[in-house]
């Protein structure tokens, strides 16, 4: 089972996690920039964090044979702090980097006017830099947050096929599916989504545009829940090809739209699109 975790905060994880992930089949990850639990108080604090996402963390991942990519943005929580807003002006230089494969996490936390502004401005940056966007949905008031998210996405003019709306559940899945956006599911030990519930959603809605991530971070979370979801799919009768689509080919296709998803050092004969016979690993580059 080859696994691409499209959303995991490796900065908060240990080398033990990298070892266990690699052993479980995780060969590539995307680390979205987000908040760190402790609120930051200046833009400079963000640049050190972003530099780590495109410097030290990929080096750390590489020691375990895991390819590491990132998404960069001012997250919705900290968009509300005027001391952090200057981060928006620093983003363009990061959006030119090889390993930055999307703008994210953007979206809503408490649905404030400040979040509205930062969200719209960063969707515009995604369009200007020809990058996909990773959109976080709020944990409170999620259904209305999701509706408002999709309205802002539609208004921005970005192609919905270049947007993933993340942290979905049974209540929000249909709305996002109908929008044409990709659907992200964060499998957590017992909150956002579980492997067995995920299998139910895949049965009901199919595997197209479905992305499964662990969203593991500094909170209670588990970087192997992608693997557990693959195993739950297998037990429920999904084929190896279905599992490979959800856990590998879908994230490769989504982030490949950046033109920057260079997985050439992981390439193997199995990594060929069964429909076209072409290598699917290089994205658009």
């Amino acid at each position: 089972m080859r696994i691409f975790d499209p959303h995991i905060h490796m900065t908060s994880r240990t080398t033990d996690d990298y070892e266990r992930m690699a052993a479980a089949g995780v060969r590539a990850v995307v680390e979205p920039s987000f908040w760190l639990g402790q609120p930051r108080t200046s833009a400079a604090s963000f640049t050190d964090y972003f530099d780590s996402l495109i410097g030290w963390e990929p080096f750390r991942a590489g020691q375990f044979g895991v390819r590491h990519f990132a998404t960069v943005a001012l997250n919705p929580k900290e968009a509300n702090d005027p001391r952090c807003r200057p981060v928006l002006d620093l983003l363009p230089r990061y959006l030119d980097k090889d390993a930055v494969v999307a703008v994210g996490e953007i979206g809503y936390d408490s649905m404030t006017p400040e979040e509205d502004e930062a969200f719209a401005a960063q969707l515009a940056l995604a369009v200007a830099h020809d990058l996909p966007a990773l959109v976080h949905t709020p944990h409170r008031d999620k259904a209305r947050g999701c509706e408002r998210t999709l309205a802002v996405v539609a208004e921005s003019g970005i192609d919905p096929g270049r947007v993933v709306v993340d942290h979905l559940n049974e209540v929000t899945v249909k709305l996002v599916r109908d929008s044409g956006c990709w659907l992200g599911f964060s499998i957590y030990p017992d909150t956002k989504m579980t492997p067995s519930r995920m299998v139910g959603l895949l049965r009901e809605y199919g595997t197209e545009r479905m992305l499964v991530n662990s969203a593991a971070d500094w909170g209670r979370s588990d970087p192997l829940l992608t693997r557990a979801t693959g195993e739950a799919m297998s037990q429920a009768g999904f084929s190896d090809d279905d599992i490979d689509r959800v856990l590998w080919r879908n994230p490769v296709e989504f982030y490949g739209q950046s033109g920057r998803l260079d997985l050439s050092d992981l390439e193997d004969p199995a990594a060929v699109d069964p429909q076209t016979g072409n290598s699917i690993l290089r994205g658009g580059s």
Binding site: D51, I54, G55, W56, F59, D98, D262, S285
Partner: protein, 202 residues
């Protein structure tokens, strides 16, 4: 390695026109380098260059972009390093000996040697490390041994290695032996060469 030989070695890259255009652009509109520099890996590839041993296409292209600047090389090297990802930083470090900047790039070497990223530590110990003072250079060589960077990365190694470095290597060897571990073979060889040579110097 000279800019001309890198230029020749880059002839076979996937998009040679992009590089030609980028180099002309940088010569006339130097600020453009801030967007061209990060894009070089995507446009020229990252593979090894057969005609330039030890060089990859992205490193070589970025070094050429820096040498194509008409002026202010030190300031651009500083900014591109500080705003760069690890690959861009490595390319800046490798460009330093080819730029007309004297010792102005030394703070970048210190920054790279402070990291634990072995790609950066190795790149900091190329020919430009002649500007490092002896104490910093010895510590950096020892860091290579400690973190498994092959000593082949260190320019002028035998010419510069001295009794103090030999003493530091011997102490590390003793520490390793006490723990039932060995020094890497290239470090043992260096220590052997130094201890063979030193009594005659004394």
């Amino acid at each position: 390695m000279t800019p001309d030989s890198l230029r020749t070695a880059l002839r076979g890259v996937p998009d040679p026109d992009w590089l030609d255009t980028a180099l002309r652009r940088v010569a006339t509109e130097p600020t453009e380098i801030t967007r061209l520099f990060p894009a070089a890996g995507r446009r020229c590839g990252r593979g090894a260059l057969p005609d330039a041993p030890g060089w990859t296409a992205d490193d070589a292209a970025r070094v050429l972009l820096l040498t194509a600047l008409p002026a202010d090389h030190a300031a651009y090297a500083d900014t591109l390093y500080r705003h760069g990802d690890a690959a861009e930083r490595r390319a800046v470090l490798r460009a330093l000996p080819l730029l007309p900047i004297g010792a102005a790039g030394v703070p970048l070497l210190h920054d790279a040697i402070r990291t634990n990223d072995t790609r950066l530590v190795a790149a900091a110990l190329g020919p430009y490390a002649r500007h490092l003072d002896a104490a910093a250079w010895r510590q950096a060589v020892l860091k290579c041994v400690f973190s498994g960077v092959p000593l082949a990365a260190v320019a002028d190694l035998d010419a510069r290695a001295d009794g103090e470095l030999a003493a530091m290597l011997a102490a590390l060897a003793a520490e390793r032996h006490a723990a039932g571990r060995e020094l890497p073979a290239d470090a043992t060889d260096l220590l052997d060469r130094l201890t063979a040579a030193l009594p005659r110097e004394a």
